[in-house]
Symmetry: C2
Subunit: 301 residues, 2 copies
């Protein structure tokens, strides 16, 4: 089949109007060039050059072919350029998934950082349940996800980021409001508001206090903020990850109380397809999260 080398040959001859000089320009010997051109002419069943002793001239059809061949070669060069430009893994949109109990609190922290460390990488963020994030990761709908461990999927890979403890959240006039700490077992006596079991965070809470699986009040919806507001409205108490209980989220109508040691914990990780190639984007996200260095997040090496 026609080769790019052959196209280079004919363009060179068209420029030089001399086989030997053209061959030199192409860094091959003259016979190599002659044979290549003959092969092309044979394939196209067309004479491109009129060979005289004095000089080489283009046939009419030859001129047309040379023009098109030059275009091909330019387009090929453009492929190399594109590859060069696009080599920067931190360029181009990154599709990031997060579980609902992390997204609202982590995202505002890392976005300003990433805007500096990866300015050409717009984020397309999706909040969803762990199970959906997993499927989306596998299907390439998202590239990276922030989830809670455990998270073992054959084709996916993860890296643990940090541990965070849970806090108890009660209305300001609740009888626990002045307590300094709570034991997990005590929760079973209270009306505890939780998201439905699709949410890994709820499962982690019920794991810490198994009694709740029977007594806890299960809510539809995806937002911990809804629950926080319900607590403020005196409809019950709840448990939140401490990233959600930072002062900046404080509400005068609620009180945050830590668990008695050992407090229940969850481990947050970043996950991606094993085959995902833009590994630098992951490094940058990991760096961004580490850079937050809040005291409620126990960073992992």
């Amino acid at each position: 089949m026609m080769s790019l080398t052959e196209l280079k040959f004919i363009v060179a001859v068209a420029q030089e109007r001399n086989f030997r000089r053209a061959a030199e320009k192409c860094f091959v010997t003259q016979p190599a060039l002659s044979l290549g051109i003959k092969k092309l002419e044979l394939e196209l069943n067309v004479t491109i050059f009129e060979r005289n002793r004095l000089d080489v001239t283009l046939t009419e059809i030859g001129a047309t072919i040379i023009e098109q061949a030059s275009k091909v070669l330019e387009d090929v060069a453009r492929i190399k350029q594109l590859a060069e430009l696009g080599k920067n893994q931190l360029k181009g949109t990154l599709k990031l998934g997060m579980i609902h109990s992390v997204g609202p609190y982590l995202l505002p922290e890392i976005i300003p950082i990433l805007r500096k460390t990866a300015p050409d990488m717009p984020l397309e963020v999706e909040e969803n349940l762990t199970a959906n994030l997993e499927a989306q990761l596998r299907n390439g709908i998202i590239d990276v996800a922030i989830i809670a461990l455990p998270f073992d999927v054959p084709s996916l890979q993860y890296k643990a980021l940090y541990d965070e403890e849970f806090d108890v959240v009660v209305p300001i006039n609740h009888h626990w409001a002045t307590r300094k700490q709570i034991n997990a077992q005590e929760l079973s006596d209270e009306k505890v508001l939780l998201l439905n079991s699709g949410h890994c965070f709820s499962n982690q809470v019920t794991q810490a206090c198994p009694e709740l699986s029977r007594k806890g009040e299960i809510l539809q919806g995806n937002s911990l903020e809804t629950i926080r507001n319900m607590v403020a409205s005196n409809l019950g108490i709840t448990v939140l990850p401490c990233s959600a209980t930072a002062e900046r989220y404080n509400n005068p109508l609620i009180k945050v109380i830590p668990f008695a040691s050992p407090a229940p914990t969850r481990r947050i990780a970043i996950a991606w397809r094993k085959s995902f190639v833009r590994v630098e984007t992951i490094e940058k996200i990991v760096d961004a999260i580490r850079a937050i260095r809040s005291d409620y997040m126990k960073m992992l090496a």
Copy 2:
């Protein structure tokens, strides 16, 4: 270096999203395709495909590259198309040279014929002296020439077309006007008007009657018609090739008289560069001239 095969490979994989099917489509085995793609990725230092077990997906840069690669392949296909279209040698302008003593009489005859047998071949006609036509042929300024023999030039080739006799042309009141034929030697007694010696026809006449080289009246200018008009004006007599003495060129003021046998003759031929590739155009011209079949032109096999 990047090859068109590799570009075909990646485009096929991008379409099929499966290496084996893509390989089949390219009529190669799967390893050949895999290696080819790896080679390309290595050369560009870029990952084009994310390889999963489930499916193959394009990286962002990969999509860009595929797009450009498709363009290249289309442009390559276009080269083949162009070659196919342009293969018709009878398409495109043909640059035709003719000597002055042939052009005005032959051209009007063959143009209507060629317009039918080679409708897509416009003629660019140039009238000139044999010596100039020869140079123009060699330099590619013209492609084909109609000249009189002899015409032996190393890099050029010719084919004899026809012989034509010469006629004597005298004013209607000339003392030869009633003669049925003239002997060449008799010309030396008369005032014979001829073109200058750059014109092969004049040389052929003086060759037939050597005396003329001393006595003939030599005119500047390139047109036999000027001479015919001068004869009509009683300024002398002349000799014309019989293609120029056909009835259609008749002038009531002149009389055409044949030479006594053996009449002087010239042989007309068509010439071209040995390296000229549009040989069909020459065939068509030869055919056109043969098709004239006038009795004053002795066609040659």
